[in-house]
């Protein structure tokens, strides 16, 4: 069962990603990004990482992409003034090299050989919560500081007047 679902959601994710990268209008890209993020969330569920799947939907699809859409709306570049995108020269080469990277990753993936650990639900809310507030408490607190800094920074950058 799992492999079939994996292939399904994986294909959706990949397809969505390709669409994100190839659309002309950023709005279309944003929508396909949502699709991709949902597919990835589904994959997380498939791996029993329920907590993170939830977080993915709430934070990523729910906040980050919304932010993107807001900005697209604010910037509001009209259709005809969108940058002309021609895949020439260095860009093409970039895509090719990216393909190379994928190939290398594939080779690396084939070599993966780690023994399976206890199949406890390590991705459940309880487990993650426990780890987060005991082993990784410092990191947790620092991320809150990071988010504070990001908020202040974003406001400062995007204000019209100081």
């Amino acid at each position: 069962m799992e492999p079939i679902l994996f292939i399904l959601f994986g294909a959706i994710a990949v397809g969505g990603a390709i669409m994100v990268v190839t659309r002309k209008h950023p709005m279309a890209s944003a929508l396909y990004l949502i699709l991709t993020l949902f597919a990835v969330a589904a994959l997380f569920v498939l791996r029993q990482a329920h907590f993170l799947a939830a977080i993915q939907v709430i934070v990523y699809a729910g906040a980050v992409v919304v932010l993107f859409i807001f900005v697209i709306m604010l910037i509001n570049v009209p259709e005809n003034k969108l940058p002309m995108e021609r895949l020439t020269g260095l860009r093409l080469l970039g895509v090719v090299v990216a393909g190379l990277l994928i190939l290398e990753t594939a080779i690396l993936a084939r070599r993966f050989a780690m023994p399976a650990g206890p199949t406890a639900d390590a991705g459940s809310v309880q487990a993650v919560g426990r780890a987060l507030f005991t082993d990784y408490l410092l990191a947790f607190e620092i991320t809150s500081v990071l988010l504070l800094a990001a908020v202040i920074g974003a406001i400062a950058l995007a204000k019209r007047k100081i």
Binding site: L90, R91, G94, V97, L101, E104
Partner: protein, 702 residues
């Protein structure tokens, strides 16, 4: 106290060096700013006015009248108001050499106080070169031979320094002159006092350098700077041979210190290491150095050109001291020369050939200094002839007496030139006897000495050479005949010089004649002292046959103990033969004088008639047998052209090409690489990606 003075022998070269430093400081800080300021002011002030005046503002010494500024000074700042530093320099320059002379005298007296076999003193100043088994300390050696040399160099040098203070008093670059002159004295003393061939070589090169500096003293004049270069380059050819000789000495003996080398000679020659061939090679190479330094055939060509320098320089360097360095070197190495009959023959033949060759050139020259220059070359030939036949003592004896009368002749001619406001052509002189009495008297004495008139110094030394050329076992009658003939020619051209300059009707230019005057005391007193020496200087070497005692030979005996072959020769010949030959050489000299008297006092038109009768021959001799032109065609042209090719092909194309090429390559690379900075973020991201891919790829394939 007397023997303690020997420990201060280092003062002898050190005092002139002190003079260099002091005068050099004065020249740098007092004189140079003055000259630079005057040059700038002279350019702006005079504009393109009188070219003659501008010349004088730049301190150019032309051969024309009033260049020495003794007559009405036309230029500005031409010694009109002497700066105070000049008096200081005029004191320091001669004083250091005078002090060195005093120390030398005391040192030689101390040496003489020792018994004859013990007259030897070495003072090591510092280790200098110590490499494995080879050691060449910077050390001074005082023995009979070097003592003669230091007395001559410091004594005659002192008189010439004093003379220069008067002669050069109107020169702009006064301090520079004395710096160079003191430097020369220092180098010459190093040369003669060195205890090994390397210290001698340091002095050897030093005198060559100072010769260049002093010949080209008036460097604004092209002929002077060319002459300086010529002297240095021709000297260098000789130096190359000298160096090879020293290398060969080191290779054979393992050392270059005199005492060690000469002590090893008997042992090495008997053991077969020092074969005649090697000795011949060593001595011929050393002799090449002497040929260059002492102006023998074929490297004499620089000496006549060296007359472009100031006259006191010609007196000191090119008569009394530097050119005698070659003779000193050969005499010092007598132990090596005596091992090779071939070398002895070469030395004697070259000496005799040079003596007669340059004497023939001397009879046609019209410049008073050129006559003296060729005369010097000729007399140097005599000294080498003496060494070549084993009569080293006679060679050094002639070196000493020649220093006296040749320096006197040069200084006297300087006095004449000074009186005539720069005129050097003898055809424009005459009747100076009444205008310049002191100069005339002293020069006449010197001329008698060089002609070999009995009683004067030149007679004794020259006669000893002639006798040894005839009688020594290395000698040959042909050598004697050539030398005697050359003596006759010498007497002829020297008296020609005297008659043309001092006797007869005045042929001077009217402008010049108005300002003719005798020289000041600073110039005439040295002349008088040298005249006295020219007379009595020979009396220490009166041969046995004339009931005298050759003190000179006795003094030098420890150094030339190997040269006893010469003395043996004398024992085999009857006294009458020696006296007869002596009378013969005097007769030849008198013939020369008589011929000169006939041609230049009685039938004064005869010389011109003879010249017109054989115009071709006359031209050839007048133009010094076109030797310079031949050299130019054979060697100089080719070397210059070769150098031009090397310069263009190698230096410009290759070396500059490489250097500039590297610069262009770097710039080209820079121009290429800068295009990586496009400012577009996507490109930068691409390079990140590329790097990551390559890195991962590397890790994968490792």
């Amino acid at each position: 106290m007397v023997t303690g003075i020997l420990d201060y022998i280092w003062l002898v070269p050190a005092l002139p060096l002190l003079g260099v430093l002091l005068n050099g400081a004065i020249a740098l800080f007092c004189e140079r700013p003055l000259l630079l300021a005057e040059a700038a002011h002279g350019d702006g002030g005079h504009g393109h006015g009188d070219a003659h005046t501008v010349d004088k503002a730049h301190g150019t010494h032309s051969l024309g009248p009033s260049s020495l500024g003794t007559s009405a000074p036309v230029g500005e700042g031409h010694g009109a108001s002497p700066a105070p530093y000049r008096k200081l320099v005029a004191f320091i320059g001669p004083a250091v050499v005078g002090a060195a002379f005093v120390v030398s005298v005391l040192a030689v007296l101390a040496l003489a106080a020792r018994p004859a076999h013990d007259r030897f003193f070495v003072q090591v100043l510092f280790p200098w070169i110590q490499a494995g088994g080879f050691s060449a300390p910077a050390a001074l050696q005082l023995d009979p031979l070097s003592s003669v040399m230091i007395l001559v160099v410091t004594g005659v040098g002192f008189l010439i320094h004093v003379y220069s203070a008067g002669y050069m008093s109107h020169e702009k670059a006064f301090a520079r002159y004395f710096v160079y002159l003191n430097l020369f004295t220092f180098a010459m003393l190093t040369l003669v006092l060195g205890s090994n061939y390397l210290v001698m070589f340091v002095g050897w090169e030093g005198v060559g350098l100072c010769s260049y500096l002093l010949i080209g003293y008036w460097y604004e004049k092209k002929s002077a700077s060319d002459a300086g270069k010529k002297a240095f380059i021709v000297n260098r050819i000789g130096d190359f041979g000298f160096m090879l000789g020293v290398f060969l000495i080191f290779w054979t003996f393992g050392t270059v210190n005199y005492t060690e080398v000469f002590a090893k000679v008997p042992f090495l020659s008997s053991s077969g290491v020092l074969t005649t061939e090697i000795a011949t090679a060593i001595t011929l190479l050393l002799f090449i150095g002497a040929i260059g330094k002492s102006a023998q055939i074929p490297l004499y060509v620089w000496l006549p050109d060296a007359m472009e320098g100031p006259t006191p320089v010609s007196a000191l360097i090119h008569a009394a001291t530097m050119v005698t360095a070659g003779v000193y070197m050969v005499a010092r190495s007598n132990a090596l020369f005596l091992l090779s009959p071939v070398s002895m023959g070469v030395v004697a033949t070259v000496g005799a050939a040079t003596a007669i060759f340059s004497a023939t050139i001397g009879i046609t020259q019209n410049d008073i200094k050129r006559v003296l220059a060729y005369s010097t070359v000729s007399q140097l030939g005599y000294m080498f002839l003496a060494c070549g036949v084993g009569a080293f003592t006679a060679g050094i004896f002639h070196l000493m007496t020649h220093a006296f009368f040749k320096a006197l002749l040069f200084l006297g001619s300087g006095s004449v030139i000074h009186a005539l406001s720069g005129e050097q052509d003898m055809r424009k002189m005459g009747s100076l006897k009444k205008h310049l009495p002191i100069t005339f008297t002293t020069m006449f004495i010197a001329t008698l000495a060089i002609a070999g008139i009995p009683g004067l110094s030149g007679f004794f030394s020259k006669d000893e050479i002639l006798w040894k050329a005839f009688s020594s076992e290395h000698g040959h009658i042909a050598l004697w005949a050539v030398a005697a003939l050359a003596a006759g020619i010498t007497a002829f051209y020297m008296f020609r010089l005297v008659f043309l300059t001092f006797f007869g009707e005045s042929r001077m230019e009217p402008e010049v004649e108005k300002h003719v005057h005798e020289s000041p005391y600073s110039m005439t007193v040295p002349l008088m002292l040298l005249a006295v020496l020219s007379v009595v200087g020979g009396w220490i070497g009166i041969p046995e046959v004339l009931k005298g005692h050759n003190y000179f030979e006795e003094w030098l005996a420890p150094v030339f103990s190997h040269g006893a072959a010469g003395a043996h020769g004398a024992a085999h010949h009857p006294v009458a033969l020696e006296l007869g030959l002596m009378a013969g050489s005097v007769a030849v000299a008198l013939c020369g004088i008589g011929l000169a008297y006939y041609l230049y006092r009685v039938r004064t038109n005869k010389p011109k008639e003879i010249a017109e009768a054989v115009p071709g021959l006359y031209d050839v001799v007048l133009n010094k047998y076109y030797v310079d032109e031949i050299y130019d065609f054979l060697f100089v042209r080719r070397i210059v052209n070769g150098s031009i090719v090397l310069w263009q092909a190698f230096d410009v194309a290759f070396i500059d090409g490489i250097v500039n090429g590297i610069a262009s390559a770097v710039r080209g690379a820079g121009e290429g690489v800068r295009r990586l900075q496009t400012g577009v973020v996507g490109n930068y991201a691409f390079s990140l990606l590329l790097g990551a891919v390559l890195l991962v790829g590397y890790i994968l394939t490792r």
